[in-house]
């Protein structure tokens, strides 16, 4: 996709989202479902930054998500903070989770990073599950959705949508900036070849740590808002199944792309909503979709589209090719042909 076409498509998506409270009823969609899509998209972006761009198997991001939810729930229940305060505390809880786990995760790469991420997530899960007096244990805890500080009206579902929308736009803008920056290109370098990054004189650990903190903060924000959306925090939000769902959304949409997480979250959340009204076996269908995705188009929906466009563009000759063909000093290409 050329830069301009991609920009236009992105703008169109944002316009549709802006008017979603008016459009959703036309397709019999509850606006809360659209809010959920946006929050899941933020969490999937967190996985995307770590897995899609940096190549780290982030299989435990539910830890930050659940910390966000419980951060909001506990602060509302015990400290009676307002709406904005709950969101802020949940987000900071995610960031703190990253600060605490980061130094341990940093020492691991590949599958060990993934396993340790899962293990840490499960630790939080069991704390929430067992510490019944504070967290309500298995039953979770209700969140009485608080009013915004200074106002008296409780945030309605459509007003909530715009909060989620604003959070999504902020995260998307931050994400775009990060992955397009020299910092983001270095993350891609780490994914493709970490030893080379280090032999370029860069301490890759430092880059990974910052990426981890960014992801944890975004995921914490998503978790806090999700808790406030469903007025509830429960241990399964911290569970590795939840982490798996985030990974699934990223893979469905297309890892390593800016808009993939939104697309994946959309397919996942709305697909689940529709199929689960038809059959309680909805997970079978999502599982089948996932298998089809990994086998048929591992780059995800958006990644496959982008690759197709690139192939089309690659069919054309460029001046470079012509110059290379006549360059007498050019190194001889063997095998694959220039």
């Amino acid at each position: 996709m050329s830069g301009r076409a991609a920009l236009a498509a992105g703008a169109a998506v944002l316009v549709v989202l802006l008017f979603a409270p008016l459009l959703a009823p036309l397709v019999k969609l509850d606006i809360s479902i659209v809010s959920e899509v946006l929050l899941m998209a933020i969490a999937a972006m967190g996985v995307n930054l770590l897995l899609g761009y940096t190549g780290l198997p982030a299989f435990g991001n539910a830890a930050y998500f659940g910390l966000g939810s419980y951060g909001a729930a506990l602060s509302v229940t015990y400290a009676h903070v307002g709406f904005a305060g709950a969101v802020a505390i949940g987000t900071v809880a995610g960031l703190l989770g990253g600060l605490v786990l980061g130094p341990f995760l940093l020492r691991r790469r590949g599958i060990y990073f993934g396993l340790l991420s899962i293990a840490f997530g499960q630790v939080f899960y069991f704390v929430a599950y067992r510490y019944t007096d504070v967290t309500g244990g298995e039953d979770g805890m209700n969140i009485v959705r608080p009013a915004v500080e200074g106002a008296h009206a409780v945030v309605s579902d459509s007003a909530f949508y715009y909060v989620a929308f604003a959070a999504f736009v902020v995260c998307l803008a931050a994400f775009r900036t990060v992955v397009g920056s020299p910092f983001g290109r270095t993350l891609v370098g780490i994914r493709q070849n970490e030893p080379r990054v280090r032999y370029l004189g860069l301490n890759s650990d430092r880059f990974i740590f910052v990426a981890l903190l960014l992801a944890a903060t975004m995921t914490g924000l998503a978790g806090a808002l999700f808790g406030l959306l469903i007025d509830f925090a429960y241990p399964l939000e911290l569970d590795w199944h939840q982490s798996g769902d985030f990974v699934l959304m990223m893979i469905l949409g297309g890892g390593g792309t800016v808009w993939g997480p939104l697309l994946g979250a959309c397919v996942y959340v709305i697909g689940k909503d529709i199929i689960s009204t038809i059959t309680p076996l909805w997970q079978i269908f999502l599982g089948a979709l996932f298998v089809a995705c990994v086998l048929g188009f591992p780059r995800g929906i958006l990644g496959t589209l982008e690759a197709a466009v690139r192939r089309r563009d690659a069919g054309r000759f460029t001046d470079d090719d012509v110059n290379a063909a006549f360059d007498p000093n050019a190194p001889v290409e063997v095998g694959r042909g220039a």
Binding site: T177, V178, S181, P182, F183, R185, T186, V188, G189, Q192, N193, P195, R196, V197, R198, Y199, L200, G201, L202, N203, S204, R206, F207, T318, D320, N323, A324, D327, N329, A330, P331, V332, E333, V334, G335, R336, A338
Partner: protein
């Protein structure tokens, strides 16, 4: 043939083992400034293990490595680069999905202290980075292929790009691990020219591992021969070619008759 400069890199009694096997056993070696120094030896002699030990890829079990007079034995690899050591790998270590120029640009930005930024540089800083990228691409003659992803290029071009990347950090010395491995004749010739240029045009010190005896004898000022993890001999190409122990242990007589 040169042998004048001060010692730039010195390994003293370096050992490295894996399990019960001592892959490198008490190896000492000194590379003098401005020389092209070759490390040769049969398969399994410990050349790459030794290379990894002195370049900080895997620290040695015992021994000491000094670089520009400072002890770097346990200095992490990324910090060694900052003090002027560059290296390449047996299999070109590049970013396969990025274009040639992006590969080099990552290194140039890293050296300019821009890799951690959230904003691409502008104005003069940007122009300086791009000038340096152009210069490095010109040095290894990859300018015409600059927009191609590395994965689409032949092995030899990938290796040239890797050399350009290792130069992007402005090293005083480069360590090349089998730069000619797996290359066709014509590609090898390009690499040989580039290695000569590293010293002649850029004034760098080079330490390289190589199998091809003809290349080593024509290119190197000094040669160290490793066998079964130990130093078998060290000297000028003529001395190595005449060394009976080297002839007996490693080289076919025929190889050296041409020299």
């Amino acid at each position: 043939m040169r042998d004048a400069g001060a010692v730039l890199l010195e390994a003293t009694g370096v050992s490295k083992g894996f399990g019960g096997v001592r892959a490198v056993d008490d190896v000492s070696l000194a590379v003098r400034e401005g020389t092209i120094h070759a490390l040769i030896g049969p398969n399994g002699a410990g050349k790459t293990t030794f290379f990894n030990a002195i370049s900080g890829y895997a620290f040695p079990d015992r021994g000491r490595v000094t670089f520009r007079g400072a002890d770097v034995t346990r200095v992490p690899n990324w910090r060694r680069v900052a003090v002027g050591m560059g290296r390449t790998f047996q299999t070109p270590s590049v970013f396969p999905e990025l274009s040639v120029e992006e590969n080099v640009r990552l290194g140039v930005r890293a050296h300019a202290g821009q890799a951690f930024r959230l904003r691409a540089s502008r104005g003069e800083a940007h122009a300086a980075v791009e000038r340096r990228v152009d210069e490095l691409l010109g040095f290894v003659n990859l300018t015409a292929r600059r927009t191609r992803p590395l994965a689409e290029l032949a092995h030899g071009s990938q290796r040239l790009c890797e050399i350009a990347m290792s130069l992007s950090t402005e090293p005083v010395m480069v360590l090349l691990d089998e730069p000619m491995a797996g290359l066709a004749e014509a590609e090898s010739e390009r690499i040989i020219t580039v290695i000569r240029d590293l010293r002649e045009r850029l004034g760098l010190t080079v330490l390289f591992v190589e199998h091809n005896m003809r290349v080593v004898l024509s290119l190197a000022d000094r040669i160290t021969v490793l066998d079964r993890g130990r130093v078998l001999a060290e000297g000028t190409p003529a001395e190595i070619a005449a060394n009976r122990a080297v002839r007996d242990a490693y080289l076919g007589e025929g190889v050296l008759d041409h020299v």
